[in-house]
């Protein structure tokens, strides 16, 4: 579209001090974000942390209270139409017209992006093939399963070959097979187009495949890095202790094991060393006082829990 812009901007997204205030509430608080083109980026955080507002500001649907953002080289405030032309956006809820057929929906979406009908036909064919929907062209969208509708919503979001695709909880509300299918589609799409993808998700295991993730809390990015590095920085092992009189036990162990994270009747400690042999001693000491003691590898879920732990 804008070739000069593409050449000079290797950053797909460049945000500085991006802030959104709703009355007294700071939904997004001075967010800085740089996304290299082609990256698969996960923005992770609990409900209300500002993920969706961030996506809305980057996609020009919400005006930042302050700060700037360039998306595909275009300023979100000064040139929202150009930004919208270079991005694809898939919402948590369907944007499709249930009364129209699959092909009619894609035609509508394509025309909105100023694509020629022949181009829409051609790309619909390719994308529906890629997403395993090629036999559903003339089916009414209302008659599709939830998983197929979500897949079609993504097809709808990329029919104009955006440089950046925003996926806001693309798998929310889907069962496991459908979630896996959606991820296969996104992988295929990335492989065939190389587009930048910015994702938010609740299912953190899904973010494992991201090139980079950022954890957002109360509108601020609190941790950022590759999933492997973040997990690694957390610790080499997680020690989980399950017991009835947990509080007293935790208090007695924190001096030795560092701060604990309690979740119901399970307490978790981080163990920074690869060598876990010392834990056998602990196991012996605690025998009889705990219901279970487990040592396992940390994952992104743990990073999420520690990031959002009440301090």
């Amino acid at each position: 579209m804008n070739d000069a812009g593409a050449a000079t901007h290797d950053l797909a997204v460049q945000a500085q001090g991006l802030t959104k205030r709703y009355g007294d509430v700071l939904a997004v608080d001075g967010l800085d974000l740089e996304l290299p083109a082609g990256q698969f980026f996960g923005l992770l955080g609990p409900n209300g942390s500002g993920k969706t507002t961030t996506i809305h500001m980057l996609s020009t649907l919400v005006r930042p209270s302050s700060g700037t953002a360039l998306v595909a080289g275009h300023d979100v405030v000064r040139d929202p139409v150009a930004v919208r032309g270079s991005i694809g956006l898939v919402f948590q809820e369907s944007a499709l017209d249930r009364t129209l057929s699959v092909a009619q929906n894609l035609r509508f979406a394509g025309l909105l992006y100023d694509l020629a009908p022949a181009t829409i036909e051609e790309r619909s064919g390719e994308l529906l093939e890629l997403f395993g929907l090629n036999d559903k062209r003339d089916r009414a969208v209302g008659a599709l399963s939830g998983g197929m509708r979500r897949a079609l919503d993504i097809v709808r979001g990329v029919i104009h070959r955006p440089r950046i695709l925003f996926l806001d909880e693309p798998t929310i509300g889907l069962d496991l097979p459908n979630r896996r299918a959606i991820w296969r589609f996104i992988e295929r799409l990335r492989a065939s187009t190389g587009m930048t993808v910015l994702l938010t998700t609740h299912y953190l295991e899904e973010a494992d495949g991201c090139d980079q993730v950022a954890f957002i809390k109360s509108g601020k990015i609190v941790q950022r890095g590759t999933p492997a590095a973040l997990v690694d920085a957390l610790g080499k092992h997680i020690i989980e202790i399950e017991a009835e009189a947990l509080d007293a036990l935790v208090a007695s162990l924190e001096a030795r094991l560092g701060p604990a994270l309690c979740d119901g009747d399970v307490a978790m400690f981080r163990h920074p060393h690869e060598d876990a042999s010392g834990l056998a001693v602990l196991q012996g000491e605690l025998a009889g006082r705990v219901a279970a003691l487990r040592v396992r590898r940390p994952n992104l879920n743990d990073v999420f829990l520690w990031v959002n732990a009440p301090r």
Partner: protein, 284 residues
């Protein structure tokens, strides 16, 4: 010179980029209109009921007092009513789009949001236009239409009426969040606009309060224009109340203002920020 040509190229390209999205909205409206057959059939039956039931009933009363053909008088009003309902209901689908989520596709399209309002207005006007054409065919087939009409003016009047009614519908839609208010819209907008318009009776003899209301009603001027086109060539009985020039000025002025007001309202963030939160199903 070169700069000028470049500017023209840029402008042409900008217009082209708007045209296809506008066409998309119009195409969808037409596809949906012909799919919803009951909506189309009832749009044809409603005016016929007015014409043959109300028209015949009141016509009988008036004939006793020596008045002329009431059914004939009613024809432009009923045509206007068909356009009013057709265009207004089509424009109000914008509210349905907000609720169902199709608005998501529209607000992320690479066009300024005011063009969504313009596109919806044009689509609704086309819906009114098509229904007017269908009704004329039905009336013609039933042998009810006098063929002595001012056709160019009729075409113009139908066009202007369709646009005005669509603009009114868009204005209402821009200020309406859910279709729960539909009954209220029917009661407080569509019916008063229809009854206080001269569609059913000449406004000249109305009491002052009602006459004032009628003169403030843009639909009055639409109906008057339709009367000019359909009744004047017959030169019999009560015809129009106003001059066609005034009608044109009032209707086109209203259309322009209504569309500007609606697009202003639609582009304001405090209006569409909650909308976006509803559309994306999240408050964070």
């Amino acid at each position: 010179m070169g700069q000028c040509a470049a500017l023209i190229r840029l402008l042409t390209r900008a217009i082209e980029m708007i045209l296809r999205p506008i066409y998309a909205v119009i195409e969808r409206e037409v596809v949906k209109m012909f799919r919803q057959r009951t909506r189309l059939i009832s749009a044809m039956v409603r005016p016929l009921i007015w014409l043959f039931v109300i028209g015949a009933g009141l016509g009988a009363v008036m004939a006793r007092t020596g008045q002329t053909d009431y059914q004939q008088f009613l024809a432009p009003g009923v045509l206007g009513m068909t356009i009013l309902f057709g265009a207004m209901l089509a424009a109000l689908t914008m509210v349905y789009d907000k609720e169902s989520g199709v608005m998501r596709m529209l607000i992320i399209a690479p066009v300024a949001h005011r063009w969504i309002v313009v596109a919806k207005t044009l689509a609704a006007a086309l819906a009114g236009l098509i229904q007017a054409a269908l009704l004329l065919m039905v009336l013609g087939a039933l042998g009810f239409l006098s063929w002595r009409m001012n056709y160019p003016l009729l075409l113009g009047a139908i066009l202007v009426t369709s646009l005005s009614c669509a603009a009114l519908g868009i204005l209402v839609a821009a200020f309406t969040r859910t279709l729960d208010n539909f009954a209220a819209i029917m009661n407080f907008v569509i019916f008063p606009v229809f009854f206080l318009s001269g569609a059913l009776y000449p406004i000249a003899n109305l009491p002052l309060a009602l006459k004032t209301a009628a003169m403030l009603n843009p639909f009055t001027y639409c109906v008057d224009l339709l009367k000019h086109a359909m009744l004047e060539p017959l030169a019999s009985g009560p015809a129009s109340d106003l001059r066609p020039g005034l009608d044109l000025l009032a209707t086109s002025g209203f259309t322009l203002l209504a569309v500007i007001a609606a697009s202003w309202r639609f582009s304001r963030e405090e209006v569409y920020a909650p909308l976006i939160r509803v559309l994306t199903g999240k408050r964070d």
